[in-house]
Symmetry: C2
Subunit: 332 residues, 2 copies
Amino acid sequence: MANLKQIAAELSLSVTTVSRALKDGPEVQPSTIARVKEAAKRVGYLPNHHGRALKTGRTLTLTAVLPMETRDHLSDLLKLPLIEGMTLAARQAGYSLSIYSTTPDDDPIESVQRQLQAHSTDGLIITRLVSGDPRVKLLLDKRMPFVAFGRTDLDTAYPYVDVDNEQIAYEATRRLMDKGCRRIALQLLVPEDQASAMRLSGYGRAMAEAGVPIDQSLIGHGMFTMESSAAWFDRLLASSDPPTGLACANELGLLGALHALGRRGLAPGSDVHIVTRDSTRLARFLPARIGIHSVDMAGVGRKLVEVLENRIMNPLGPVETVLMQGRFEPAE
Amino acid sequence: MANLKQIAAELSLSVTTVSRALKDGPEVQPSTIARVKEAAKRVGYLPNHHGRALKTGRTLTLTAVLPMETRDHLSDLLKLPLIEGMTLAARQAGYSLSIYSTTPDDDPIESVQRQLQAHSTDGLIITRLVSGDPRVKLLLDKRMPFVAFGRTDLDTAYPYVDVDNEQIAYEATRRLMDKGCRRIALQLLVPEDQASAMRLSGYGRAMAEAGVPIDQSLIGHGMFTMESSAAWFDRLLASSDPPTGLACANELGLLGALHALGRRGLAPGSDVHIVTRDSTRLARFLPARIGIHSVDMAGVGRKLVEVLENRIMNPLGPVETVLMQGRFEPAE
DNA sequence: ATTTGTAATCGTAACGTTACGATTGCATCT
DNA sequence: AGATGCAATCGTAACGTTACGATTACAAAT
């Protein structure tokens, strides 16, 4: 394998000069730079990652910590465009991206600890923040560059990229009202989930603007799976005053609700109006009339890497935060 | 940051002894090993990846080269359980897994070249093999440990993990025949695709066994997207002798076909029988009666890492090949 | 003739780890 | 007493890179 020493020997130069020439050091004669570069190309030289990392302390690796739903891969659907965006952006910036999957059994803070101490990464991308997330404090404390996908309730500033769930839920609710819906059901994950809280807030804002009181029985929590969504929506449909509109949490929630509708012989778009988020283009090819808003998850992935890169380059710079907007499909 | 030197200084030992003690070297006194391990735990020592990699030449990193469909993330659906399986298995084996995404514009062989020369990985996982794939030759030639997801037509042996598409297609076709279908439509990707060729072969075997001649007009190619699947199946349904059974290529093909059926007011399970593959648990929650067979993609991912690891540990050992079977849901 | 300045290049050390051969201390054997 | 064997530990070098302070050669200034 070609290394600096070999090139140096071949050209009767020192390793130092070769090293400098390859990065266009101003101390090296232009003609020497040319000779060195020619030789490097000829012998197929590529810098040894680990030699460099050991010396400089920079690894040129970013790590994304991703919790995986080991039982149900569909609920992780939106991770795919996210991974695509992250890996491609990382590559373009000269980094490689390592994925650290965690299962529900893993201790989330331990995974971060491990990354921190192994000196094996230049920066971390963390997701699925919880209230007062200890990882944020830990990473800020240890001065490890990181960026979060999602926000949480901390008084300290930290870099994040998030989806503007409040605005999206607001617009979704408004859209259902435009169809004439007043009894609008809302799917959420868990109350502690920041995204869910934001969605609830946007929903509440739209309802308040229209002067419609909020009926707590229409708010569904725990809509993680198609099963839970189907069961919940089935109960709602069976009630004495069933909803006429539904804002789904994600594609899974949508599929579950469609399941419940289908069993009762009801059709989306006439009996019940539905709006859903669609990060994967799934919803728009279902044989059903559904309102769709999409979030560019690959764009989120690219943005995460971009923010993280800035953080690495300029650790003391301003804390960047990004809110991604959703895009609504034109009304049917 | 804690390193061997610090621990050595603290315990008045040499760096060598500490290093050996941490890996239970037989030359070190048991009591010393205990002292060293205690100190290591206390100061939070974790070995520096790059120091070790530089010295040993092993990086403890595996790289998966994954082509991404940048336009349509749904067609990449099954990659998610694959990624999960790979990353978790890699972690368990002490490796970290790096994802190298490629776009349709990328030169596939260049991506491999780059990985090869940067000394940054211990082994490669390649996917989406093409006929006479040059990457396989290159990697065998350079003695870089690798494993392929999928087979191709090469006369040299190489390690791979693949899904037994022939058998799965055979069983799917048999199942449709059990429902009384004789005109059975089959979705394929491209003729050059090995998986498609295998599926066609299994389909043909089942048809031949039943003495049903194959009607080429029922074989659909290019079923990559929901759109193409919907358009193709719509044409078939409009023909004078429409199919009564359909074997879908994947969840996307299924959704497209359901779209076409829905537009004509036809129902799966009565007018037309459908069997599909479901790697993501999507199909089984659609409001439709569909025959389902699933392939454990997370298992494929784990198997890939396992085979690759064996290859790294024992480069001259026998070439491992694995065929994963599908699992059919009990008949409706 | 000596000093100063400058451009080009060099030598050494260090990052943290491991491999390998050397060294120590001590008990046992001739 | 001296030699031998063994267990435990040590010292040094090396992996490939880069940072930093020399060193050289030569021209220009004193």
